[in-house]
Subunit: 651 residues, 2 copies
């Protein structure tokens, strides 16, 4: 590729970022985000190089230009904003700029008091090349520079600010090199970046101690709205298998009347396109969707592509499963463990194309009923190429569909799913507990290569996971984990009632809930509010009101002299919104220390005047120093959530 | 690309190494080296994945296979040897292996004492798929496995070693994925990897105090051979410009009789294809080449593509230079500094194709006279695409040509030249002085991405550089720098006489020689031998005798409890040759400490029995511990160069 250019092209462009796996997958952004482009750019010799980002909406013909700046060590940077929900492409152009080279040289010679008649004459020639003789003003300047009678005047002219601006504004592109690939940026809607999830089992939604229904869930909407959530995620709502149904606490045998696991999908009552009769009708589900949306809440559907033994697919399409030598169908297993209530699809079956199409039709069916968000169960146990195809097919037909990948597995597998199209992903946040673990993990997410394709969604708990650090603990650790999830990541969620009511009782030795709601119906005191529910409401309100909390990529960890405290700043690019969070990791003891304001990031002078407003306690502070005292008593509140107002320094 | 495969293909292959800039440039190796291939490979679910490297000589049709092993975290490795001086290509193939998956599962079930009749029947089916019914033995096994009357026997069979070997030897490739790019490995001759350079100015070669000649250089060959060098590099041997000729110590004016700088090439006596008359004739130069080669020494030519003002090109092709508005030709400058004895070529000229062809003809001309090695002066001041083209054109016509890039410049520029085709490169070794600096630099060269294209050539000095740490110092620091260059890097060189005679007198405040040989003729006592010349001879002999010293990529830094000591091990892959170097960085004081033998690398048991032979002092030691005492008195010798013999541990 280097050789397909004319021999006079002297610039090398390498290592363009962002790109994902050499451009094999697109870079992801959401509307209103910036694409910061960097590249290694250099030429032979000492001539000056100039460079610019070329970018456009993919369907447009003409490039827009964004100037690049040299960061040092031959690394260059420029950026552009993606304003529309369409694909963009970008690349980089660079060239040896003889006008700027000449300008730099003559300035040095003037400073060294050398004679520069010849250089002025050269400048005169370059000015004409610049305009190709078009702009009258520049032609006039060109004539003046070669007029030796105006030597002193010309030296002053070239040394002046006007001329500096002229050089800056007029790149002399010659033998330019354009990087020979266009890199794709997929731009999604804002909710892909900023969403607030609440999970509940609809069968536990009843206020009357019965099997909950969609109608019961509708009654809970005011509570969910008041707490500030905008996604309501329900585990599978389909008929539950009756054959080999699991009992309480994952017992391999259920007794009569036990409801079974919603993830064992399908029975004589229907499969993935049917609704569990005890939850209600399709019409009632659609009513829930409509009523939730009026409150700004999207109802997310669980997509669990697996079957109970009595799922209609098993008789209609036995060839979609693995048939054993004795004619039986292979159930799920992880030898020597057996999961006899679940039949996985055999994605290697000969009829795989019909299987793929049927599963796509499931997704399209629910989109037609009003679903916009899918939480995908264990996507890493189905083929990557299947998901890539399915998500692309859906995106061809519909806008603004979100797929959340529930893959708690090995890093490269999680990354692969995000690359191939999942909008958001569950993360290791659930097990990142200490201050250092969290800082390291955030730095990996925000500054590592996954930043361009992996959108984290932080969950402190799920129906499958009651992590060790929450077990047998009081409310404070729940508050800490909540505020970390909600302010570190712009996408987060909780498995609602057990979290807000601080359920802390595990199966001994495991990270699982005792008497898990996965296998039984729960009754919750849905009318109760607590310190925890108040905090949830206030923090979610702050997230809605403060743009700084609506991105995961804008975090800066502040230096603090107490390792029990973690302080981090989130700001919009233009600093119009600044939030500072300070968390006390010691759930039992008061901790105090000094937090350093990052002067460069906040563009502070030595005369600091920052007003802080704690959005939870409503307290106000003024900081006039670089290092500032904070103190957090976990019995009152284990964190500060400050909105910062930076005042003009009083000089 | 992910979607061009059948839907049943479940494996993902990513991040194949080695590759240079996404395969844009080839990976470099020399004959006999190993290509260690790694990749991220994984599938959905829990099925077992198997993978292999596919490799072949580029002109061959059929792939050879090298099994890959899982290193953990979805990273896999395999390797192959490049035995021939031809281009190779490689890629990676992987698949879900249902036979191995089945085998792993049944072993676990047998261990858990579950019934496995059905699993044995499945195994029977898989065995038939394995052979497609071809091998009789396997067909027989298949029949046995499904024979329920032989259940106990079958369990023993499957649990046995024979069956394990059967599984290992019989991958069941189905829906395999081949990484969709073939990566190129260029394989060069051994001298590209292992060479020992000596630089001298032929005009200073006279033993009689006159202007030296090629005949004088021929007389020095026995000395150079005795010191163990196999490349003799002479600065430019062409006519030296008479116009604006530089005088002693880079004086802008020379006085009559001063010889000028050999890098100011060309005069009325000829240009780049001519020989400076005072050095001799073309025939005498060719005689030098032939006589040197008989002693195993290649004569390297300096390729300095620039002209003195009186070079014939200036009148024949004024359009190859930059012509200023007053009609004069632009000399070299770095404003406000001027270099009026040098005219650079204007590689952006309209006639660039003829310029390129002429410069190529210069290289081809000297190859026709017998030159195989070119040390290229300042390649980073000529266009990258020019060099890429020139080196490729030369390699099309000739084998085993070496181009050494003399680019002491920014890292990415040095890297770009190596990528595009330079065989070897000057490095920052010249300025890496402390123990930590050297360890860090070696780790970057050996373990960084440049390992696949950048072959370092270590020089402790050059005619342009007398580094600060050698200035006004005694012989010991010269010995230290020599042994570091000669044992850290398999390619190294010295600017001979000033180094072996420990010339240490700089222009004050600069890293340049006072009374530099670049501008005057020197007289050396070519008959003198010193401790330094003895050490050079012995170390170079060790380099020739010990294969471990003939690679730069096999270094391991040993732990040592004294920071003044640096200990490093070099071994062949099969451990048939092991060398341990210990250097005392304190040129004035005796230092002692304990060096740790790396047991894993040397495959030592707890009963250590290692014989050490110091190849310089001829002393012998036996080490029987992991940690071993060393002591180095710089007044005797500031380093050990041990050959290690590892004896079977006396159990």
């Amino acid at each position: 590729m280097i050789n397909s250019l004319p021999g006079q092209s002297r610039v090398i462009i390498e290592n363009i970022q962002p790109q994902v796996d050499k451009g094999r997958y697109p870079v992801k952004r959401t509307v209103g985000e910036t694409v910061q482009v960097t590249a290694d750019i250099f030429s032979d010799g000492h001539d000056h190089v100039r460079a610019e980002v070329l970018y456009r909406k993919k369907t447009e013909k003409n490039w827009s230009l964004a100037e690049m700046h040299h960061l040092g060590n031959d690394s260059w940077a420029g950026s552009f904003l993606v304003t529309d929900k369409v694909p963009y492409v970008f690349t980089v152009r660079a060239w040896v700029d003889h006008f700027e080279t000449w300008y730099d040289g003559i300035l040095k010679k003037i400073e060294a008091q050398l004679q520069v008649q010849l250089e002025l004459a050269e400048g005169s020639v370059l000015l004409l090349q610049l305009t190709e003789g078009k702009k009258k003003d520049i032609q006039k300047l060109s004539a003046q520079l070669k007029d030796e009678t105006r030597y002193a005047e010309n030296i002053e002219l070239v040394s002046g600010e006007m001329f500096a601006e002229l050089v800056k504004q007029n790149p002399l592109r010659r033998y330019e090199v354009v990087y020979p690939a266009e890199l794709l940026v997929v731009v999604e809607h804002a909710k892909a970046r900023f969403s607030t999830w609440y999970e509940l089992f609809p069968r536990s939604a009843s206020l009357a101690g019965k099997h909950g229904t969609f109608a019961d869930v509708i009654k809970l909407l005011p509570r969910i709205e008041a707490m500030g959530f905008d996604v309501l995620y329900l585990p599978p709502i389909h008929p539950i298998g009756k054959v080999n149904r699991k009992g309480k606490n994952n017992n391999v045998r259920s007794v009569a009347g036990e409801p079974g696991s919603p993830w064992a999908i399908g029975s004589d009552e229907g499969g993935h396109k049917a609704i569990h009769p005890q939850l209600g009708t399709l019409e009632q589900y659609k009513e829930l969707i409509v009523k939730a949306r009026k409150r700004g809440i999207d109802v997310a559907m669980d997509l669990a592509f697996q079957c109970a033994p009595d799922h209609p697919y098993v008789t209609e399409h036995p060839d979609w499963f693995k048939i054993r030598p004795d004619g039986s169908i292979q159930f799920a297993e992880n030898p020597p463990k057996k999961y006899q209530d679940i039949y996985p699809f055999n994605f290697e079956c000969d009829d795989w194309q019909n299987l793929w199409n049927e599963l796509l039709s499931v997704v399209l069916y629910w989109i037609d009923q009003g679903v916009k968000i899918f939480r995908v169960d264990n996507p890493h146990t189905k083929p990557f190429r299947f998901w890539q195809w399915l998500i692309a097919e859906v995106n061809k037909r519909h806008e603004d569909i979100i797929f959340l990948s529930e893959a708690f597995t090995r890093p490269k597998v999680m990354a692969a799913l995000a690359k191939l199209g999942f909008t958001q992903s569950y993360t290791y946040f659930t097990w990142r507990v200490t201050r250092n673990e969290l800082v390291e993990y955030m730095n990996e997410l925000v500054h590592g290569p996954s930043r361009n394709y992996f959108r984290p969604n932080f969950w402190p708990n799920t129906p499958d996971i009651l992590p060790y650090h929450l077990q047998h603990q009081g409310e404070t650790i729940f508050v800490i984990r909540f505020v970390l999830a909600a302010t570190l990541s712009s996408n987060y969620g909780i498995y609602g009632p057990p979290f807000e009511f601080c359920e802390n009782n595990p199966i001994p030795g495991k990270e699982e809930y005792f008497n898990s709601e996965k296998f039984e119906i729960k009754q919750y005191d849905w009318k109760k509010t607590t310190r925890m529910t108040d905090i949830i409401s206030i923090v979610n309100k702050a997230r809605k009101n403060h743009q700084a909390l609506q991105s995961t990529w804008n975090i800066y960890f502040c230096t603090c002299n107490n390792d029990n405290l973690l302080a981090y700043l989130k700001t919009t690019d233009d600093l119009t919104d600044c939030v500072l969070v300070v968390v006390n990791f010691d759930q039992h003891g008061r901790q105090s220390g000094y937090v350093q304001l990052p002067k460069e990031i906040l563009r502070l002078t030595d005369r600091i005047n920052v007003k802080l407003h704690d959005l939870v306690t409503d307290e106000h502070y003024t900081w006039t120093q670089e290092w500032n005292y904070v103190e957090l008593d976990p019995n009152k509140l284990p964190f500060h959530l400050f909105h910062l107002t930076i005042h003009e320094s009083f000089a």
